[in-house]
Amino acid sequence: MSAFWYYVFTLVFFLFDYFILAMGLNIQYGETGILNFAYIGFVAIGAYVTGAASLPNSAGTGQQYIMGWGLPFPFNLLLGGLVASAVAVLVALIALRRLRTDYLAMVLVSLSLVLYDVINNYVPLFNGADGLYNVPQPMAGIFHLTTNSFIPFFAVVTGLVALLMWFIMSRIMNSPLGRTFRAIRDDDGVAGALGKNPFGYKLTSMIIGAFYAGVGGGLIIQFGGSFNPTAWLPGETFVVFAVIIVGGVGNNVGMLVGALLVETLLIHLPAFLPEIPGHPGLIEYIDTMVVGVLLMVMLWFRPQGVVPERVRKSAGMLADRARGRGRQLTTASEGQGKSGE
């Protein structure tokens, strides 16, 4: 495979992976209003758990880690998502029950830093600052994949996983559950006064979003074969926020557009561009600045994102169908109804 296609499939992988990550953060922030500044921590948990579950027993590998079960794909990935969700329950119990918006965000940032320090310094857990490496390439043995052919293969697998997760997320967002999430986002006091338990629904949203984060992280470690603390500095959360704000909060199509514009074109594509003569490495430093500027521009001039949250016509369509069926029933009572303003 030529270097060009290697680049292209690497970009495709990151497009779909960040699409998954963005959907997870979107249900927490865009749909339920939880300002989860610890999101990258859940990505890391998914990556480490998937990696440690895939690796063989640590004895003789030169690394220290828990598990080491040699778990195959997709069970390792599911485990990564489930453990991230379990951690989300703990975090929600600590942070979500009493805190709102800004205070909640501060507590979540702090929890993210604590998690970062624990994993970075407690070597027996996930090999400390060196992180996990030599993680087996999933299904490489079954399909006799080489290092080169694995990249397009796994980019396609990631695309299929993203498609499945998009389908699941769309079902949730278009259901009464999704509507209740948005009610809580708009005003959790009103939602409570309507009989909805805001904490319960926020907890559900945290669990779903963390599962997406865990799966996204699990795909990253399997694609690259390694994962260490430099990959999930707390600031990385803001890249995912940039994806959903640029793409359009509250809209799954916007998540894909945001992943394309921010993660693929601005973060990863520049790494493949030729160096600027006399300024080696400059491009890689500039891309973060460009993302920051883009974020500010979007917040100023188009806060709804490239693809804004749509007015939900599914309810409208149901309404029309209901109106058609119910016309005979309602005709008699129409004259009695008070006229509209």
């Binding site: 948005r182 009610a183 006064a193 939900r312 309602t330």
Partner: protein, 271 residues
């Protein structure tokens, strides 16, 4: 707290009962021992001068804030300091003094949030009982559209709620509460900032609710409205219950006239 059971039927006489409710904010008593009963199936007005603690009482009754002391009963069940969602599930709905619509949702969606215990609010049902979810959703949509027709908001059903006028938001709040099929409805100044024509309509809607068996407790400053539609009046002053009864009787009560009615009558005479 008075005996709350009809001797013949055993049904509660009072939909709401409060005894010695107290709430302080940074040492200042906003509610200083309010005690009153709200009769079942009637419209009761909660009146009093500004700062009397009316909205705080509504917030306490609906579980939006905990009381410091005192007891509350909702249709015979002690709901003292229950969270708002549990009280709502017991059948108490409310509107707000300053309209609090769910702005990002459409008008129709605002109503669709209200029904309790929806099958589609469970992840399990969404993926494993989709037909039951769809059937219930269709029924809710039909009922919501009927409610929107009744309240004159049908043509705005696909608009985002934040786009409505002040009066329309007041109607939306009442329609949303009605969609939840309440036993008791608390309305916090439903006529505030509303044009005179709409005031009459809202009055009619409230009378319709009473006719359908809903108990209404409304905070209201407009005494014409109170006189026209309310069966019973509770007067609050400085966080305490000053008097209860019919408005015509309360007009003769010197304490009430001094604390509130005199002020209102003077304002309307000189206004």
């Amino acid at each position: 707290m008075s005996d709350n059971v009809t001797p013949t039927t055993g049904a509660p006489v009072y939909a709401l009962q409060c005894q010695d409710l107290k709430k302080a904010f940074q040492g200042v008593l906003a509610v200083a021992g309010a005690t009153f009963d709200v009769p079942q199936g009637q419209i009761t007005a909660l009146i009093g001068p500004n700062g009397a603690g009316k909205t705080t009482v509504v917030n306490l009754l609906s579980g939006m804030m905990p009381s410091d002391s005192g007891r509350m009963q909702l249709v015979g069940t002690d709901v003292t300091n229950w969270p708002s969602h549990k009280i709502a599930r017991r059948g108490l709905m409310r509107s707000f003094q300053l309209s609090r619509e769910l702005g990002g949702l459409t008008v129709l969606e605002n109503l669709l949030v209200a029904p309790k215990h929806q099958a589609g609010e469970s992840l399990f049902n969404i993926f494993f009982r989709p037909l039951a979810v769809r059937r219930e959703e269709r029924e809710n949509v039909e009922r919501a559209l009927e409610t929107l027709k009744t309240y004159g908001l049908y043509d705005l059903r696909d608009n985002r709620a934040r786009e409505l006028s002040g009066g329309q938001k007041k109607l939306l709040e009442i329609a949303r509460a009605v969609m939840a099929q309440p036993k008791v409805l608390l309305l916090d100044e439903p006529m505030a900032g509303v044009n005179p024509a709409l005031i009459d309509r809202i009055g009619e809607y409230i009378l319709d609710l009473k006719a359908s068996g809903v108990t209404v407790l409304m905070v209201e400053h407009n005494l014409n409205v109170v006189e026209k539609i309310c069966d019973h009046v509770i007067v609050l002053a400085e966080g305490r219950t000053l008097a209860t009864g019919k408005l015509s009787d309360l007009r003769a009560n010197q304490d009430v006239v001094q604390a509130y009615l005199g002020e209102v009558i003077n304002a309307s005479t000189h206004g």
